[in-house]
């Protein structure tokens, strides 16, 4: 039991401008469940990418010793050969192929390139049995829910004779029943001698199953806690994760809150594909002038869908309800209308949805409001340069000039470009969806300061975040969402992580009816 299966020594990994990992040490004993915790951006995923060969040998410094031997992985195939399998947060399944095809993808049961479908199907059936998924191997992935897809991923890992299983936020989008099943499965694997590394934000799960916990913060190992020796509480882990003085993570905020600016009444949205499925259910909310309103909730609770449905119906169908701005009904039927009616939406996926990466800072900033730098037809480029330079100074965007491609900027600076874009569209209501995702701590502080400054200038801000400390640290008022509904509302003064979690965990009334 106490043999070390994996040891990572002095791992350092740098990205342009950021040191993601700084001399990290991490070791896993054979047959244990080792949790890896830390805030977003602490370096957990990066460390696992180093381990699994996503970042090949040479792209980092330090040594990896696996089963007593130093290893150098050039790619994922190398690490998988030795039984190290990683399951990413974004599942890597191909929706239109069957379970069996997915399980053996890249690792086909084949002779001379010809697939043995009988072997494939029967092996898959066995694997599905092991992970407790009662589906036919021929079922297409699209017809499975996220929980079952997760199990398929695990079956796929088992097919590769896994000895060290890495799970990156496996329960982030699972409901409680599925989560329990998954954790049970991990315990079963442990009994069979398979070691697991579990990355999770959900500390209750971590304390429930982990044998050891390693805490990362800002790219460095803080400590490793042994759960077999001591009883480890969640607050003990949080202490290690946060470490620094909480008051300094968020800038001081003097709220000057005015009249109600934006209001949603009975907002209901249906799923764009699944007929009859409500994604947003009767949401009512208000945002006042100069107010920062947070929306908290788990992944999949409908926060992004709510924001996008408001932003020119860019999500969902059969949208009903009214949106009011300064008491007047708003036409939000298209994105251009939403923008001209004073709504801006900073997406959570800034690379795919926020920026045109191949274009320069200047073009990105003016894209949503080209009329602001043109006579409607012809762009006044000198004026554009002057204006975008002003945003560069105001938001402290670090770039060689506004003519630099946004592709080469760091995450924090890219986010500032996106923010500039929406500030330039002069909105009354600014919706920020996970504005600090994947941004280092220093840049986060800057983003928070910008948010405060905007609120002070009288803008209304609606901010969506999965990080509870962030929501608590910057909001004046907080809505809690779960399963498409607002399940709680609280002022900052009497809000806490526990209260928010309690709101989320409240039993869904519909479920109670079903169970009764």
């Amino acid at each position: 039991m106490s043999d070390t299966i994996l040891e990572m020594r002095d791992i350092t990994k740098e990205f342009p401008g950021v040191k993601a990992l700084d001399n990290v040490n991490f070791s896993v004993k054979a047959g244990e469940i080792h949790a890896l915790v830390g805030e977003n951006g602490a370096g957990k995923s990066t460390l696992m990418k180093v381990l699994s060969g996503v970042y090949p040998t040479g792209a980092y410094t330090g040594d990896i010793i696996y089963k007593g031997e130093e290893v150098h992985f050039r790619d994922i195939t190398d690490s998988e050969k030795l039984g190290i399998v990683i399951i990413h947060q974004e599942l890597a399944l191909i929706p239109l192929l069957s379970i069996a095809e997915n399980v053996f993808l890249g690792n086909e049961e084949a002779r001379n390139g010809v697939i043995d479908w009988n072997a494939t199907t029967s092996c898959t059936r066995e694997l599905l049995q092991k992970v407790g998924l009662h589906e036919s191997p021929e079922t297409l992935i699209t017809s499975l829910g996220v929980g079952k897809q997760q199990l398929v991923e695990i079956a796929k890992a088992l097919s590769k004779d896994v000895e060290l299983l890495i799970l990156d936020e496996p329960t982030a989008s699972l409901n409680e029943t599925d989560t329990e099943a998954l954790l049970d499965l991990l315990l079963q694997f442990k009994a069979q001698g398979i070691s697991s590394i579990l990355i999770s934000h959900k500390l209750n799960e971590v304390t429930q199953v982990a044998d050891a916990i390693t805490i990362l913060r800002d790219g460095a190992t803080i400590e490793t806690l042994d759960c077999r020796r001591d009883e480890i509480t969640e607050s003990r882990i949080i202490q290690g994760m946060v470490g620094r003085d909480l008051t300094h993570r968020f800038p001081e905020r003097d709220a000057d809150i005015g009249e109600v600016v934006f209001q949603l009444k009975d907002w209901t949205v249906y799923h764009p594909v699944h007929e009859g499925r409500k994604v947003i259910d009767n949401v009512n909310l208000t945002v006042r002038q100069g107010e920062v309103v947070g929306i908290s909730g788990l992944m999949g609770s409908g926060r992004t869908e709510l924001a996008m449905s408001v932003f020119g119906r860019s999500y969902g169908r059969h949208i009903t309800g009214t949106a009011l701005m300064h008491g007047e009904p708003l036409d939000l039927s298209t994105i251009p209308k939403a923008i001209s009616n004073g709504i801006a939406y900073v997406t959570e996926d800034r690379k795919n949805l926020g920026l045109v990466l191949m274009q320069d800072v200047k073009n990105n900033i003016t894209l949503a409001n080209l009329n602001g730098v043109s006579n409607g037809m012809v762009i006044n480029e000198p004026r554009e340069v002057v204006l975008t330079n002003a945003y560069r100074d105001k938001l402290n965007i670090k770039c060689s000039s506004v003519l630099q491609q946004t592709l080469n900027l760091s995450g924090g600076n890219q986010q500032k470009v996106v923010l500039s874009k929406w500030l330039f569209s002069e909105p009354d209501l600014l919706i920020l969806d996970e504005p600090t995702r994947g941004i280092d701590v220093g840049a986060k502080y800057e983003i928070y300061s910008i948010i405060n400054q905007l609120a002070a200038e009288g803008k209304s801000i609606l901010i969506i975040s999965s990080e509870l400390p962030e929501i608590l640290g910057i909001s004046d008022r907080i809505y809690v969402m779960n399963e498409g509904r607002i399940v709680g509302e609280m002022q900052q003064a009497n809000a806490s992580q526990e209260k928010i979690m309690a709101c989320i965990m409240q039993q869904d009334p519909r479920k109670e009816v079903a169970e009764a």
């Binding site: 860019s314 994105i335 939403a338 795919n352 003016t366 080209l370 043109s374 330079n389 000039s401 003519l403």
Partner: protein
């Protein structure tokens, strides 16, 4: 320092193909014993390639928007046939045929654009269908025969030359004067943009390089003008092409619509979430290309003085090749009007030069294929390095 290197690299990318074009011209000038740059041949070169350049302008927008249009050759043939039937069989006035043809072209482009933009049919498939449909309809309309000849006024569209207001014996002075005016304008605009760049603190090339570049450009323009002036002067079609190049350069670099097309091709989702009506924009790029394909078809028919069922076969490939040789990206978001024009000229000079030398049509095809592959290969390699 890094930005200077970036600038140089970008300049190399921009001027790389121009340098290649000049090299190709010098090469053929030598192997054809000077035939290439003879006034008659230069005029011919312009007439032969005008329709490719015209379509390349529209194709550039479509490709920058992240789409493709395979139907332009067939559409050009169809519009040529339509105009021919209107003028010859129905005896309508040539202006009616001209306007009718342009309108029909825009309509065809719009129809294909509708399926691509609003119905989500991949442009490759929608325009492949268009390519077959309009080739077929051309045959139907012409009943497999060539239809012609056309009224002289219509022929002038392609084979006419601008009038000489000076009447100087042996040299078309108007051409020289126009060339000079244009040269002055070009230098003035370049100077102005350079001043602006300095004013806003951007890097500019050294003043020496600036002077050399402008001298070279002016020399090239005046040389071509002089060559043309010593034959019949500037062809009408060159004026058309020239005005179109100016308009499209302006649209792509200075206007809101142009900026949005590049954003659409660079990241359609981000553009949409920034309030760009991506569907409508895609639709317009196709309608616009339909219009230009129609113009090209009319010019082509006017040049041959007959509408033939075989007209425009393979044009789409020359046009697409021109745009890619000119540095456009197959995934959209990248490409310049000037690049596409240079790309078209590279293809044109090679066609012309190889024909003079007597290279067979079989080898011409193969060699052009290699040039396309090579040009894009270097472009991709440069981009990956950056």
């Amino acid at each position: 320092m890094k930005t200077i290197l970036d600038g140089l690299r970008q300049n190399m990318r921009r001027y790389g193909m121009l340098i290649a074009l000049i090299a190709i011209m010098i090469f053929f000038q030598i192997v054809t014993d000077g035939t290439l740059m003879r006034p008659v041949n230069i005029t011919n070169l312009v007439l032969q390639n005008s329709y490719i350049i015209i379509m390349a302008l529209g194709m550039l927008l479509v490709i920058v928007a992240g789409q493709i249009d395979l139907s332009v050759g067939s559409v050009a043939a169809f519009i040529g046939a339509l105009a021919a039937v209107m003028m010859v069989n129905l005896d309508l006035h040539w202006t009616l045929a001209l306007l009718g043809g342009l309108a029909a072209g825009a309509l065809i482009g719009a129809a294909q654009g509708y399926f691509v933009a609003y119905q989500g049919i991949p442009s490759f498939i929608a325009t492949l269908a268009g390519m077959l449909i309009f080739r077929g309809l051309t045959l139907v309309m012409l009943q497999g025969q060539s239809v012609g000849p056309f009224p002289p006024a219509f022929q002038k569209l392609s084979s006419g030359f601008i009038p000489d207001i000076f009447g100087y014996e042996g040299l078309h002075l108007t051409t020289i004067v126009l060339g000079a005016i244009f040269s002055v304008l070009l230098v003035y605009m370049d100077l102005r943009s350079r001043r602006n760049r300095i004013k806003y603190g951007f890097d500019v090339s050294s003043i020496q390089l600036f002077i050399i570049k402008n001298l070279a450009v002016v020399a090239a323009i005046m040389y071509i003008c002089f060559l043309m002036a010593s034959y019949k002067g500037l062809p009408n079609v060159l004026i058309i092409v020239f005005l179109l190049i100016l308009v499209y350069t302006f649209v792509t670099t200075q206007t809101v619509v142009g900026r949005r097309i590049y954003a659409l091709g660079g990241n359609a989702k981000a553009a949409k979430l920034s309030g760009v009506n991506t569907e409508r924009l895609t639709f317009y790029t196709f309608a616009n290309l339909g219009l230009l394909a129609a113009l090209a078809g009319l010019i082509f028919a006017a040049r041959l003085n007959v509408a033939s069922p075989k007209a425009g076969t393979g044009f789409e490939l020359d046009v697409i090749a021109a745009v890619f040789i000119g540095g456009a990206s197959a995934t959209g978001g990248v490409g310049t009007v000037l690049g596409a024009v240079i790309g078209a000229l590279v293809m044109g000079v090679m066609n012309n030069g190889m024909s003079i030398v007597g290279v067979g049509i079989d080898w011409q095809q193969a060699i052009k294929g290699f040039v396309l592959l090579l040009a894009v290969f270097f472009d991709v390699r440069n981009r990956n390095k950056a």
